[in-house]
């Protein structure tokens, strides 16, 4: 008997995640081989059991030997010289001739070892030429971009050209890590995912952390068997090899099932990290197995870095802040001369609210679209009540902001039409004087990839948890929420507070 959970899929998935060793799976994907080397001897202390397929030399022959003894002399010299660098990002991949096959080697130092990830050479194109072609093209394109939409379009299409995947999506997270496909490039005949939303439980917190550790994640063929390491435990550390930053790290069974339910057989994703936060991904899907040379993936990683760099320039908060500062100054002047009604209009403009209320010495001044006077007073009593401790949780000077007031306290639903979002600052010390800005409810009709409330499926007999089977479009309204408050809008309010306190 099986059932589909209709509560807390996120919690269920986080629990399931804790059961799997993402970082130390003891296995790799089969499209490459891994060699764990000790420095400075370059002795192979651990390796994957598929070296005969990838390198052309059996793993039992290679274990405990120096890696250079399996390389042609020029390649051995090249490897040794390469290891003098402390930053490998500029030299990877290194093309080396083993005594078996020629391979592209990607080096990294991690956990006290030199790790060589070895991929077969499947293209006659020289890595430098391939890099130059891809990187130059992308740079030229980006240097002409002036709008965010152009940036998204360039990155999505460049990644599709370099990977030749069936579908490339710009997938953006919201504050709660639900994702939405906001741009897409596909080959003809492939279904569009544009606009679809995916619940946060599809990419749990631990997996998001792994996406933060590496710039990309590549799964070329889900039908290929995964390959065990030999020996199973690292003989030096006597524990499993930490592969959290490696390319070849094995794939979790739940993820394989998720991809199969989506109908895809190969995936490639690039993390979009802005100011230390994972804000989205460029996610690529292919319906059959798909090998992409490392150098092409590297160029894609750098395209994503260029994208973030330019996004930060175009989306610079200081541009907005400069525009809003004049409203803040006008509001401040009015408040300091006790002209409360005159202060309301600039107060609304400086944060972009629909309504505002000022409580000063027990007198309430209101403007714009707000709850009723009694409702505002009730709300302000809640903020002034020390037992709720809403105002001083994050900042000792006090402020509170939410775009979903109903998630903070019961009863807020009655004012959601005018106050689904609120921003509150104290304006005097040791007194219940406040400014409160309001934003109304904004009902969004969202299309989800499958029912987000049934994002996971549990077999009650085995207690096995698996991803949903259907990703068919599912309409669901998002209610009780206002438009989000931008960081520069909150900053404006905090600057006003600091000027008044």
């Amino acid at each position: 008997m099986s059932n589909t959970l209709n509560i807390s899929p996120r919690e269920v998935v986080e629990t399931e995640c804790d059961r799997y060793n993402f970082e130390t799976p003891g296995k790799i994907q089969s499209h490459g081989a891994i060699l764990v080397l000790q420095e400075p001897s370059f002795k192979i202390v651990q390796l994957s059991q598929n070296t005969s397929q990838v390198i052309g030399i059996d793993h039992k022959e290679m274990i405990n030997q120096t890696v250079t003894s399996f390389l042609e002399p020029k390649s051995a010299d090249k490897l040794l010289k390469s290891t003098k660098s402390t930053n490998f990002s500029m030299i990877n991949p290194i093309r080396l001739k083993f005594l078996g096959n020629a391979c592209d080697v990607i080096l990294l130092r991690y956990d006290g070892f030199l790790i060589a990830e070895v991929e077969p050479v499947r293209s006659e194109v020289d890595n430098s030429d391939a890099y130059q072609m891809g990187a130059m093209h992308a740079m030229e394109k980006f240097q002409g971009a002036v709008f965010i939409e152009q940036l998204i379009d360039i990155a999505t299409n460049e990644i599709r050209d370099l990977t030749d995947f069936d579908r490339v999506m710009y997938y953006k997270f919201d504050e709660d890590y639900n994702g939405q496909v906001v741009a897409e490039a596909t080959v003809r005949g492939v279904d569009s995912f544009l606009g679809l939303r995916f619940p946060a439980s599809d990419i749990p917190q631990r997996v998001r952390q792994l996406y933060m550790n590496t710039k990309s994640r590549y799964l070329p063929d889900l039908n290929e068997a995964q390959i065990a390491l030999f020996p199973e435990m690292n003989p030096v550390t006597r524990r499993g090899l930490d592969m959290s930053v490696t390319i070849l790290r094995a794939v979790a069974p739940t993820h394989i099932e998720y991809m199969r339910n989506l109908g895809i057989n190969s995936s490639l994703s690039f993390s979009i990290i802005k100011e230390g936060r994972l804000i989205g991904m460029f996610a690529c899907h292919h319906y059959s197995g798909k090998f992409v040379p490392y150098v092409n993936r590297l160029v894609c990683e750098q395209i994503v870095e260029m994208f973030v760099n330019m996004l930060m320039q175009l989306d610079d908060d200081s541009v907005h802040t400069n525009k809003l500062t004049k409203y803040k100054q006008s509001a401040l002047d009015s408040i300091q001369s006790n002209q409360w009604q005159a202060a309301c209009s600039p107060l609304q403009s400086m944060v972009g609210s629909e309504g505002v209320a000022i409580l000063k010495d027990g007198n309430l001044t209101m403007a714009g679209f707000t709850p009723t006077k009694d409702e505002v007073k009730s709300l302000l009593e809640v903020f002034g009540n020390p037992s709720y401790n809403l105002l001083y949780q994050e900042d000792p000077a006090g402020f509170f902001v939410t775009s979903k007031l109903s998630s903070v306290f019961e009863g807020a639903e009655t004012v959601k039409h005018a106050a689904s979002g609120v921003l509150v600052i104290p304006i005097s010390k040791n007194a219940n004087d406040y400014i409160i800005w309001f934003r109304p409810e904004r009902i969004l009709s969202a299309t989800w990839a499958g029912n987000p409330d049934q994002a996971v499926h549990i077999d009650e007999k085995t207690m096995r948890i698996s991803p949903r089977k259907s990703f068919s479009a599912w309409q669901k309204n998002v209610e009780n929420s206002s438009e989000s408050w931008k960081s520069y809008e909150v900053q404006m309010a905090l600057q006003l507070r600091d000027a008044l306190l």
Binding site: K81, K84, S85, T86, N87, F88, S89, M90, I91, S128, Y131, Q132, A135, M136, M139, E140, F142, Q143, Q302, E305, M306, N309
Partner: protein, 144 residues
Amino acid sequence: MSYFEEEYLHIISEESIAIMEWKGLAKTEAYRRGFEAFLEMLEEGEHTLWLTDFTGGKVIDIKDQKWTTSEWLDRALEVVGDSLKKVAVILSTDIFNKVAVRLIMNALTQNTDAEVAYFEDKDDAMEWLMTHENEDELAETSST
């Protein structure tokens, strides 16, 4: 000895080491003036080692990057010939600079036997360059 110093670039000659320290954005004229100054310094001294520190480097215009690889590099390699032994590179955090530097260094390694290595900081880079010097001195001593 400081050879060239402007807001965006500092060029220093330290015995056999020619040092370039990029500190900010350089538009075409400034960028090329900096590289020309570096070349002049190479012509005047016997520098077998280069330290190219791009830490503060910003975006390099594509036409300037192409000028570096197709024109300046040929002239520089003509000046230093086989005497150039090692090039230590410290990377910028700016992705556009990093990509341009990779392309410039690819062109360098294709046209010289000099070793090129990449470092996170100046101390590691200098240590590697000096080790090379010491090895040369030892080789010279043992051969005499």
